[in-house]
């Protein structure tokens, strides 16, 4: 029942709609394990190569094959790349979800569907394009068993034709995607061309969406946050990585293995790094602590459940004062939660991870570029403060494709902090590990193997005095805890400063962090253009908070804390830190359904809370 012509939609009334150029979201609904990732990447790249800013977000199930998965591409001439709530074009390839997918669309959206699904019977206020995929794929792929894999490339061709993407860009993207597999490249190219030609000959363009060439992606790269983090750690001079696989952090270490094997083999053919898959997260972080104690730059990557397991060990590292870099690629909790969905739900539990008075330095990258640069800051801070540093990424940042300027080469040398060498010890005669010599709360350490009889100290998680000797004396304990606190206070002026936007004159402030940033910049423009509501914006990049954060809250009548969790965790953390009389000025906008936060939701909720 091949449909060769999708008849005009009687009541759609879209034919006269104004052209919408370089501003749309495209959702591809497929089944996971069907090879659609390659097709989606090719479509994304084709638009990117047309010079239009893009983002690609994979909304996938916690499953290997057979469950529904959606991929959303947003193209936007103004550079808004947060998830867009509304879908403008649906590519419906999954029979199981097709009806539901179509029902949720706003009137006027375009739908490309597999002809046998007969989706055009479901609604009459959408623009439908039926494509006989099976017939088209059979013509270009004689081998029946390969058809399933390249069928998805046909929709890339159809979409390219409808959106008026230059086919040369599609071809270039396919060649890049299958750079090492010539046969696969040719087969996929034929499939895309079949779709492109079919659409030209058989589909009448009735939707208003167009991609037109512009120049906003020149020199840019496309990469996911986990790969960017892996690169950042490699350039930070990381030497030991120990880990336990967990979604969505696994790809960080897996990519790092590839990068390190390529770029970190010494002239003797031996590795300048060790990467070890541990038996669980407890062992993974234990190894990090052992390695860092012995002088390596060591790290691990995990997600919420792993963070919970690392609680005991990170308390040890805090108290024994050992550097560690821990990436938390946050996913939805509590418990197993939604392992393949994004959140910022680990803020509070990580800030105070472990029993007793424990607190940690947290960094919040908002972009792939910051995954790269904050990786280096994380190692430097961990070494400088001799303490664990958590880099709080999330699934949206870690696993999705983002456009970025190329990453800058590190601008300062690797700094290992206060480590005493043999020569230092010869000069000084000895040292007291936990003595605050410089008034910043940070002691001097030695590493095992330092060839001096006074180099050794006894690292212990039990109570200790300045000389690292066992002590249960109240004064020793109190002094040590107060020094640790002083160290944390010192960190306030060393951690990355927040980023400020706005002229500082608005009455309303917005505070956000991490991936929420992309929704905020768009929401601020919506607020200004649609509601004449002006805002100032402070993007947090670290905990403990710097002075600017306090000033920002003090300066605004009310400040909205936007975050992707239920309980307003960052707002709570802020309330612990600011003057109590400022607490009533904070208002929470929380977003918890597991999909990346979008601007429209922020705008609507803020306006509602403003009582407008």
């Amino acid at each position: 029942m091949a449909t060769t012509y999708a008849g005009p939609q009687k009541s759609s009334g879209q034919l006269g709609r104004q052209r919408v150029v370089n501003d749309m979201s495209i959702q591809v609904a497929t089944v996971n394990g069907s090879g659609s990732q390659s097709s989606n990447t090719v479509l994304l790249r084709s638009i990117f190569q047309m010079g239009v800013p893009i983002s690609g977000k994979n909304l996938f199930p916690s499953n290997i094959a057979g469950l529904p998965t959606w991929y959303t591409i947003r193209a936007n001439k103004d550079g808004y790349i947060a998830r867009k709530k509304e879908i403008d074009m649906l590519i419906a390839m999954n029979a199981e979800t097709a009806q539901e997918d179509v029902k949720t669309l706003a009137p006027g959206a375009a739908v490309l569907f597999d002809a046998p699904l007969a989706l055009d019977k479901v609604r009459d206020d959408l623009i439908f394009y039926a494509v006989p995929y099976d017939k088209l794929v059979a013509a270009v792929c004689p081998e029946a068993k390969l058809r399933k894999l390249i069928k998805n490339m046909i929709y890339v061709g159809v979409a390219a034709q409808l959106l008026k993407i230059d086919f040369a860009e599609v071809e270039k993207a396919i060649r890049k995607q299958f750079a090492t597999k010539a046969k696969a490249a040719n087969l996929n190219l034929a499939a895309a061309k079949a779709g492109f030609d079919y659409a030209a000959a058989n589909l009448e363009k009735r939707d208003p969406f167009y991609i037109e060439r512009m120049d906003k992606t020149k020199g840019k790269i496309i990469v996911d946050g986990n790969s960017a983090a892996a690169m950042g750690c490699m350039f930070a001079g990381c030497t030991v990585v120990t880990w336990y696989p967990i979604t969505p952090s696994s790809s960080l270490v897996e990519t790092m293995i590839d990068y390190m094997k390529e770029h970190r083999i010494g002239p003797d053919g031996k590795a300048t790094f060790a990467i070890v898959q541990a038996e669980d997260e407890l062992a993974a972080v234990g190894m990090v602590i052992g390695a860092a104690w012995a002088g390596a730059r060591a790290m691990t990557a995990t997600a919420g459940p792993g963070i919970s397991l690392m609680a005991e060990f990170t308390g040890l590292a805090y108290y024994v004062e050992i550097p560690a870099v821990i990436w938390d690629i946050q996913r939805v909790g509590p418990s197993t939660g939604l392992p393949t969905r994004t959140s910022q739900g680990d803020v509070l539990s990580t800030a105070f991870l472990s029993h007793g008075d424990t607190k940690h330095i947290l960094l919040f990258p908002n972009s792939v570029s910051e995954c790269f640069t904050l990786a280096q800051d994380a190692f430097d801070l961990a070494d400088h403060f001799q303490t664990p540093v958590f880099v709080m990424s999330d699934l949206d940042l870690g696993m999705n494709n983002w456009m970025s300027d190329p990453f800058p080469y590190p601008d300062k040398p690797i700094s290992r902090g206060k480590i005493l060498s043999k020569a230092d010890l010869e000069k000084a005669g000895g040292f007291a590990r936990y003595k605050d010599v410089d008034g910043d709360g940070i002691g001097y350490r030695t590493v095992p193997g330092t060839d001096h009889p006074a180099a050794a100290y006894f690292a212990r998680g039990s109570g200790h005095n300045e000389k690292a000797q066992y002590s249960e004396r109240p004064d020793d304990f109190e002094r040590n805890m107060e020094r640790l606190n002083k160290k944390f206070e010192t960190a306030r002026s060393f951690v990355p400063r927040p980023e400020l936007a706005g002229d500082g004159k608005a009455k309303i402030g917005i505070i956000a962090f991490g991936t929420s940033h992309w929704a905020i910049i768009e929401a601020r423009d919506q607020l200004s253009q649609e509601h004449k509501v002006e805002t100032d914006y402070l993007r947090l990049r670290a905990y403990p908070f710097t002075r600017e954060v306090h000033d920002f809250i003090a300066k605004h009548d009310r400040t909205y804390i936007v975050e992707q969790n239920r309980d307003g965790q960052m707002a709570s953390l802020l309330k612990l830190d600011i003057k109590p009389e400022l607490n009533p000025r904070l208002r929470s906008i929380c977003h918890i359904h597991g999909l990346p936060i979008d601007a429209r939701s922020v705008t609507d909720e803020l306006m509602m809370m403003e009582g407008k």
């Binding site: 038996e279 234990g286 052992g290 860092a292 193997g449 998680g461």
Partner: protein, 349 residues
């Protein structure tokens, strides 16, 4: 070498690197008088001294418990890490990844090893990390006042008379089946055997797992306990007689392969096991485990070296890391060049 000795008028006795035994001593013990653990600390001091190990090269590791306190009581010139309960193996593993030149010595207990730490113990053994892992095994939790541990024998009683009704975990059988390459059991009261085994352990490249029965004089040394001095003295059974010839000593006594097994260690030292049971082959895992099971059935405390494989690659060998410790690599080796970053960026365009 020897830069740190302080000359005193009557030339003191020194080892081959010019250090005195005092250079291997630690702080004053806070364990109970008569605790087996103190004797083990003494044997460690003697073995390290005699082998001429530089204290600065040694890294001591422990978990939590009485046994795990003991690294404070020997080798003050060595770095030490008293970590968390049952998870010392991961800390030691990380340290060895960072610095392959270290000589790792883990001192731990039966609770630390096969109760809370069973998971990490299993994976340490499996990796064959270069480490000497000493269990000071007293069958009970001393620091929390004498509860049974998982190495307590079936039927062994607490001071209160309560009998243990679960079978013990045999740490040696477990270690052998998992991949440790030097496994033995000794007794804190057997000075000669333990001392010799420790010296051989220092020469081994891979995991040495020594289960040392070490009576708890306060909570588990009574009639009815199978981890008491008296019980071990009455039921001790030597599988083989252990002797050791370090690489730096000339070999002047031949051995008879019919009655003695010899293993050449990583550094050229020789471990010799005079067979007290003719058929026993210390390179046969199945026989080793079987003999251990038999000892449980008989109620004997079997000691000696049960299994040795001096040729297996260690975990560090498998990783193919640089000869220079990762911890001390210069920035030029750990931060790739601008050109590498440019290439990475180009690939992503």
């Amino acid at each position: 070498m020897g830069t740190t000795t302080t000359p005193t008028p009557p030339a003191p006795k020194t080892n081959r690197i010019g250090l005195q035994v005092v250079d291997y001593r630690g702080g004053k013990t806070t364990l109970c008088a008569g605790c087996g653990h103190n004797a083990i600390s003494e044997r460690i001091i003697d073995a390290m001294y005699e082998m001429g190990v530089k204290p600065e090269r040694v890294a001591k590791f422990s978990g939590i418990g009485c046994s795990s306190k003991s690294p404070a009581y020997f080798m003050n010139r060595s770095h030490s890490f008293n970590s968390v309960h049952g998870r010392m193996p991961s800390v030691a593993t990380g340290a060895m990844l960072a610095n392959r030149d270290l000589l790792a010595l883990g001192v731990t207990g039966d609770g630390d090893t096969v109760s809370i730490g069973a998971g990490q113990f299993v994976h340490l053994m499996r990796r064959n990390l270069p480490i000497i892992y000493v269990i000071e095994d007293n069958g009970c939790y001393g620091l929390t006042k004498g509860q049974f541990s998982a190495t307590a024998d079936l039927g062994s009683t607490l001071k209160s008379g309560v009998a243990n009704d679960l079978p013990p975990i045999d740490t040696c059988a477990l270690a052998i089946s998992l991949g440790a390459t030097f496994v033995g059991r000794s007794f804190s009261g057997d000075k000669r055997q333990l001392h010799t085994m420790l010296k051989a352990a220092i020469a081994h490249n891979g995991t040495v797992m020594l289960d040392v029965v070490s009576p708890c004089v306060t909570f588990n040394d009574h009639e009815g306990s199978t981890k008491s001095y008296k019980y071990v003295q009455e039921h001790g059974e030597e599988l083989n007689e252990v002797s050791f010839v370090p690489a730096f000593e000339e070999i002047n006594v031949d051995y008879d392969p019919g009655t003695t097994f010899e293993a050449t260690m990583h550094d050229g030292s020789r471990l010799r096991l005079r067979k007290l049971e003719q058929e026993y082959d210390p390179t046969d895992k199945v026989q080793a485990v079987s003999r251990l099971m038999e000892s449980h059935a008989k109620g004997e405390v079997l000691t000696g070296v049960f299994y040795i494989n001096a040729k297996a690659p260690s975990f560090i060998d498998l990783l193919n890391v640089t000869d220079q410790p990762l911890a001390t690599l210069p920035e030029s080796m750990t931060r790739p060049s601008r050109e590498v970053l440019a290439r990475c960026m180009e690939e992503l365009q």
